[in-house]
């Protein structure tokens, strides 16, 4: 019996790792570390500035060992000392540590104030590394306040400082911390490439630091990241193989440095993950490997008393048993898993969930429904308890993604604004230059003017002198001159009157002329309009007359054709049938004479058909324009003349009346060509375009001189022209003697007649 579980079950244990780190590290080594830091701190003299850095480390260690009050007190005390120093970097550093601790202690407002203070201090400082640290702290706080977008910005600033700083162990640790923060934010944002980049940077730093524990962690994180990526893109086995590669590297790191590894359960942890991927993602040949690693995980887990890991390895084994169809063994493994997991203090809820779910399924398959219900209830209990947590996580992630989007938008707006401002600045600069030029121009003009003024002053002075001189000279001739002047002024006046009179007369004349012109123009316009209206009226009358005429004509033709075709045709056929039958029975001599008459009857039927068809294309109604024209073309074709009919993109959108008109136009054109041009080929082409139909009738006959057509011949064309006009179309004729003729007709669409 094979049991397939629809829900995915996860025996993977990354979350366990973090729980373990938090739980185990302090209990195993914390006291030692605390003591070590305390002594280090005590070594420094009160004047030694390095003491402040020792203070930070000690305060943090105290804080993680539930000695929060002591930590805060120590920080406050040293802050007072640091504030006295001229270099602000120490105060900046201590404020950052304080802000982080305040946030962990849930004093969010205080934390915010403290970190802003630290930032202000750091901005004044010249120490690059401290600047980097303070911005890291600011990012750290923002990230925990769900402002991940803002946090990334601060981390980037921090990295830009740290990259410039002198390399040291502390610096590398700080960088590694920034990488870790970025990795987890990008993981939240599903930015796989960036997550991969910072994970790898963290790994290379860890390798540089030669700390096996950090290296192991980095490998595990990368392995887990690729495993998750493979779960999302399961068609790309590259990720699966990368996950394997990094897990194996983690395993190697552990094996090589077994002695210096502080947490023995890590081996069980990596073994579990390896077993899980071999079992789930790899082909069947890897099952043995999966089993080996599960066993390894179990034994190492037991050794290190990490029961979650033991439970997880049992879980994988039970799933393997299930796959082999051994439900009994699977159940055994699950029960062991349940026992093991309950030995520990903290149970991994995901693993518990998986255990109960699988147990419930197996019981159900075995038919033990009561047991199945029991397990299922357990499953539901755990599920509801973690569901709330998950919901919270999802909302956090959504918020983070929203934050990211918002940040991108803000950035765009900022860029836009910056561009706009730059443009404004350029505009202002241009304006400035223009104004300056204007000013210079003004100055120049002013100069000129003042010079001119001086000149005119001089001239006026000179004139004054001259005047005085002439007055003196002219004194004795004054009388004479005054008489003379009077005479002149009289003449002047007269002249002025004359000029004014003439000007007035001229303008009056011009005015009259203009008025007259306007009036005659207006009259002409009115006349034109009137003529146009009359012409239009005539056109209308012509069209309606033509419609009536065409209609009547067509109806009459159809009636005659029907009578001919059906009536006379049938009669002739019947006559022929009887005659030919009679003929069979008569003498041979008589037969040959009679046969002649019968042949004539056949010819009569053919002629009758031709006449009827020409009268009315009865195919048109039933089969449409294309078939009717095809039939017409094939009837008119013979050994000397080939008529080709092409319909392109035609979708049968013309109504019957329009089709008949087009048919008649083409018929007339083809008949004309046959009658006058003696062609060997005629092309009839109908193309439907977006807004119009385009009809071409072209022959390779004699051609004609279109412009000098005799009245007689042009009558046929006028007939065609009026049909085209009736369709609101346009006819173009292209013909030259010896070149054949081409008639192109375009008819606009969607105009109902």
């Amino acid at each position: 019996m094979n049991i397939n579980l629809k829900t995915s079950i996860n025996w993977n244990t990354l979350t366990v790792l973090f729980v373990l780190l938090f739980l185990c590290l302090p209990t195993l080594k914390a006291q030692d570390i605390l003591d070590k830091l305390q002594t280090e701190y005590n070594q420094f003299k009160p004047t030694d500035t390095d003491r402040f850095f020792a203070t930070g480390k000690l305060a943090q260690a105290m804080f993680f060992n539930q000695r929060e009050d002591e930590a805060f007190a120590l920080l406050r005390k040293e802050l007072i000392n640091a504030n006295k120093l001229s270099d602000p970097k120490y105060a900046a550093y201590l404020n950052t540590v304080l802000a982080i601790n305040q946030l962990i202690d849930e004093e969010e407002t205080n934390s915010r104030q403290t970190i802003l203070k630290a930032k202000a201090l750091a901005d004044r400082s010249k120490d690059i590394e401290i600047k980097g640290y303070v911005y890291y702290g600011y990012g750290w706080i923002l990230a925990r306040e769900q402002q991940e977008g803002e946090a990334v910005k601060q981390f980037m600033i921090s990295l830009s400082y740290l990259d410039q700083a002198k390399e040291s162990n502390t610096l590398n640790n700080r960088k590694a911390n920034v990488y870790k923060e970025l990795t987890s934010i990008y993981a939240n944002w599903n930015e796989f490439d960036l997550q991969e980049k910072y994970s790898k940077l963290a790994l290379s730093l860890a390798i540089k630091q030669k700390d096996p524990m950090t290296i192991f962690d980095s490998y595990m994180l990368l392995g887990y990241m690729y495993e998750q990526q493979y779960l999302e893109n399961s068609n790309d086995i590259k990720y699966r193989d990368l996950a394997e590669e990094y897990y194996l590297k983690a395993l190697d790191t552990y094996m090589e440095q077994q002695d210096s590894m502080p947490i023995p359960s890590n081996l069980a942890f990596v073994a579990n993950n390896l077993s899980n991927i071999y079992f789930k993602f790899y082909p069947k040949e890897y099952e043995e490997k999966a089993k080996q690693y599960a066993e390894l995980a179990k034994s190492k887990g037991l050794e290190s008393k990490q029961y979650n890991l033991v439970a997880s390895s049992y879980g994988i084994m039970s799933e393997m048993a299930l796959k082999d169809g051994d439900t009994k063994k699977a159940k055994e493994h699950l029960l062991s898993s349940l026992i093991e997991i309950n030995k520990g203090q903290v149970q991994d809820q995901q693993i518990l969930l998986s255990i109960y779910q699988t147990l419930s399924h197996i019981s159900e398959q075995e038919g033990q429904y009561q047991e199945a219900i029991k397990y299922y209830k357990e499953y539901i209990n755990i599920f509801t308890s973690i569901y709330d947590q998950e919901k919270l996580n999802i909302s956090k992630r959504l918020e983070a993604q929203y934050e990211k989007g918002k940040q991108e938008q803000e950035l765009k707006t900022l860029q836009l604004e910056a561009e706009k401002k730059e443009q404004q600045i350029q505009l202002m600069a241009a304006l400035g230059i223009q104004q300056k030029q204007d000013l210079e121009n003004m100055k120049l003009i002013q100069d000129n003017q003042s010079k001119e003024l001086a000149l005119s002053k001089l001239t006026s002075e000179k004139q004054d002198q001259e005047l005085r001189m002439s007055r003196l000279e002219a004194k004795n001739k004054a009388q004479e001159i005054s008489n003379y002047q009077k005479e002149i002024s009289l003449k002047d006046k007269l002249n002025k009157y004359y000029i004014a009179l003439i000007a007035a007369a001229l303008s009056l004349l011009a005015l009259l002329l203009y008025a007259y012109r306007q009036r005659s123009k207006h009259m002409a316009q009115r006349e034109n309009l009137h003529n146009l209206a009359i012409e239009q009226e005539r056109q209308h009358a012509k069209i309606s007359m033509l419609t009536a005429l065409l209609d009547g004509q067509e109806q009459e033709r159809a009636r005659i054709a029907r009578d001919l075709h059906d009536g006379l045709g049938g009669l002739l056929s019947g006559t022929k049938l009887q005659l030919s039958h009679l003929n069979d029975q008569s003498s041979i001599d008589f037969q040959s004479k009679m046969q002649k008459g019968i042949t004539h009857l056949d010819m009569a039927v053919d002629e009758l058909r031709r006449v009827a068809h020409n009268l009315t294309p009865d195919l048109l109604q039933k089969f449409g324009l294309e078939e009717a024209l095809n039939d017409y073309a094939s009837r008119m074709s013979n050994e000397q003349l080939e008529i080709d009919v092409q319909f392109l993109h035609y979708s049968k959108t013309l109504n019957l009346e329009q089709q008949l008109l087009v048919y008649r136009i083409i018929q007339e054109l083809v008949n004309n060509a046959i009658k006058h041009a003696d062609p060997s080929q005629i092309i009839i082409q109908m193309v439907e375009e977006d807004n119009q139909y385009h009809i071409t009738v072209e022959d390779d006959g004699k051609g004609f001189d279109y412009k000098n057509l005799s009245r007689n011949k042009s009558a046929g064309l006028i007939n065609i022209q009026s049909r085209v006009e009736f369709l609101k179309g346009n006819l173009q004729v292209q013909s030259d003697i010896g070149q054949g003729s081409s008639f192109e007709i375009s008819i606009p669409k969607s105009k109902q007649l």
């Binding site: 049938g570 009669l571 022929k576 049938l577 392109l648």
Partner: protein
Amino acid sequence: MINIAITDDHPLLSEGLKNILAQEPDLNIIGCYPTAEALSEALKTTRIDVLLLDINLTDANGLELIHPLLKKYPDLKIIILSVHNEYAVINSAFQEGAHGYIQKNASIDEILLGIQEILTGKKFRCKQTQQIVDRKNNTELKSVPKLTRREKEILAEAALGLTTIQIADKLFISPHTVESHRKNLIEKFKTSNLSSAIKMAYDYGLIREITA
């Protein structure tokens, strides 16, 4: 005995035909019916093997009768006997399911041959009808497309590598028109692009110059 019915609104033809066919020993003329209605009344009571059916009846179109009749009487064989010699009509008759098509001015021997042929399960066309169908098939087979003068001009310019705009400028027509001709050419040559059309036109000798 083969039961035969004639449906034609011309007494002269149907009576004449009846008299002639009656002389054949293995044919039994059931009757002549001038309308579709009279025919369907007769079919209710009498078994008919072969129906000679005219197209232009006073109360119906013979083509439209074929399908319903065959649906109701699947064993019935229908020969269309008509003055119509248009391909579209012939084609439509066979599409509706007719078994034979004979022109009214065919000889009596052809009618008798037609009755024999369709009873063996074959389709039958009289000589004239066969000629019309053959001619149609021949014209469809010809492969060289017929081009108008304008199309030849445009194809020749395009073959020299000119763009739509350049061709439009050179021939004093709108680019839109050139574009429309392009589409038509592609359809006429049944290719997917103009350069294949140019290649084919060159092979057929429709254009003389080509720049690769």
